[in-house]
Amino acid sequence: MSLRVLGLNLIKTNRNLLQTAVKNNGAPNAHAVAMAPYATQVTVQATPAAVQKQKVSKAMKAYLERANEHDEFMKTQHLEFQIGKRHLANMMGADAETFTQQDIDEAINYLFPSGLFDKRARPSMRSPEEVFPARKAAEFDETGRPFHSMFYTGKPNYFQLLHDIVTETNKLNDLEERMLRRGNKPDENQKLEMAGSQLLRKEQLERVLVEHIADIEYQNFTSAMERLIISPYAYKSKAFIERFLKPLIDQSKQLEVPKPKIDEQGRQYVTTYECLRKTARADVTVRLPGTGKITINGQDISYFSLEECREQLLFPLSYSKMLGKVDVEANVEGGGPSGQAGAIRWGIAMSLRSFVDQEMIETMRLAGLLTRDYRRRERKKFGQEGARRKYTWKKR
């Protein structure tokens, strides 16, 4: 918190600085205005156009003021960031010159440990370019005339993008027609592979455009892009399309499979700790080769009296055809029967990855066995009987 307070104080002092800066900036402008009548008296008669060129529109003036202010602000922020970085480096006993962003993150994590769940809510220190969103440069010249033909739409970059997409689509359609007339077919080998990528999300697109867009406008963007991508000749404008695609992570290769260890009896084993489901917590050990023995807290499968829970335990084993080939030992605490069974099921599935091939891991993932079920009990709300149920309504 101290960081934040410090920052706020600094910002206050900055504001004062900025005000003086603006005042200073204002002075020469005023000077120029005062000079203007003098200039007209001497030369204007001959060249009125030249004078008009010097005239700065109100919009431009306001913009320049704002830009100046922003520049100054960014400069002070940058300075503060550098100072903060040096302080951090000193505190951590490291060299300030070679202190990287990763070091900063580690230092903040160490000095300001936070129990907040959301990572974005925890304290952090990053360079001001990352923290403050980028701003647009001037969109009009000194006379106030906009550069962009779509300036008055309010969102020139967005509408330009839509325009580009449609131009691209029309081009492809024309090409398709020409090719059809000639009897040519699109190249199947060059077909665009869309499975591994995704269109930019709204926030990302906004960052690219430096403009805020509404939900409906984002929808228009996605539908226009889809129309472009569907085209059989989409590979012709691959470069354009890829500007708005984000590669997805291959889910099957995301988690590293642990190497099995060897126990004193010479059997391979893998232990998965922290298997969580609802409020239950378990650690599961799977041993290969085995006879299908299941031990839960020292008991066998009859630890669970419910049939559904036992079925859950056997699901990953039978699904990967390892039933009767491995032994399972589990310690579980907390939660009820179904939560405990779910925790052990996840632990068994995660441990089994070490004993099956890559294809089986993928089928297990598709069955949802390797996903941690992080659904929790929904809290009760005040003024309500439970999470969703309302009190019976009585008039009086």
């Binding site: 934040r4 809510a121 559904e308 859950q312 779910g342 069955a367 066995l369």
Partner: protein, 216 residues
């Protein structure tokens, strides 16, 4: 200094229509079991995150999607294990009746279905309605307008009717017995549920003149 509190709410807004209040983001897909995974292209799903398998999903031979759905409808006050017991008893009764019938019959033994799953599916498919009457007010007069049903709704109605018929019984008769009779009747294309469905269809047919009120 770049201190960033959690400020942007834009990430909380979702564009895609998904189940409200779901813990999973909208791009998470439902689990795909081995049987179904033969149909899909593995390349397409290799990048899609999958929801965790629910705790009623399994690959046992006793698992069925329709059966699972019916279980949810039988359940009262969250007592799922009782519902499971009731459904198991129902299927057992059906099996006993069918085997008895098989032993009584001398000829055409192939026509008697002993597979309870198939009987259940047949019963539900037979009692699925296609249309529904819904009240629409036009010019101060209420019209019963026939409206086509979605697949999901029609399955729901079929199962609900079967259960309603089973629950309307003597106190001394147990639900599994009555449900078994209703299911067997419906599987053979007779009984109260089938009659209810036919009645509804007949009414829809007689009210077909009002069908245009659905859109005008």
């Amino acid at each position: 200094m770049g201190f960033v509190p959690y400020t942007t709410l834009s990430s909380l807004r979702t564009l895609k229509c998904c189940r409200l209040m779901s813990m999973y983001p909208p791009h998470f897909a439902e689990p795909i079991l081995k049987k179904d995974s033969e149909i899909i292209n593995k390349k397409d799903v290799s990048h899609v995150p999958i929801k965790a398998a629910p705790n009623d999903l399994s690959d046992s031979i006793f698992y069925g999607v329709l059966k699972n759905k019916l279980l949810k409808y039988i359940t009262k006050k969250g007592n799922g294990s009782l519902a499971k017991q009731l459904l198991t008893d129902t299927l057992e009764t059906i099996k006993r009746t069918q085997i008895e019938r098989l032993n009584l019959i001398n000829a055409e033994k192939e026509n008697v279905i002993i597979d309870t799953e198939r009987i259940l599916v047949n019963a539900i498919e037979n009692s699925r309605p296609l249309l529904q009457l819904s009240e629409i007010k036009r010019g101060g007069v209420k019209y019963q307008v026939p409206i086509p049903l979605t697949e999901k709704k029609s399955y729901f109605l079929a199962m609900k009717w079967l259960l309603d018929a089973a629950r309307e019984k003597d106190r001394k008769v147990h639900l599994p017995d009555k449900l078994a009779w209703e299911i067997l009747d419906a599987a053979h294309g007779q009984g109260r549920v089938i009659k209810k469905k036919d009645d509804l269809h007949r009414q829809c047919e007689s009210n077909r003149a009002y069908a245009h009120y659905r859109w005008s």
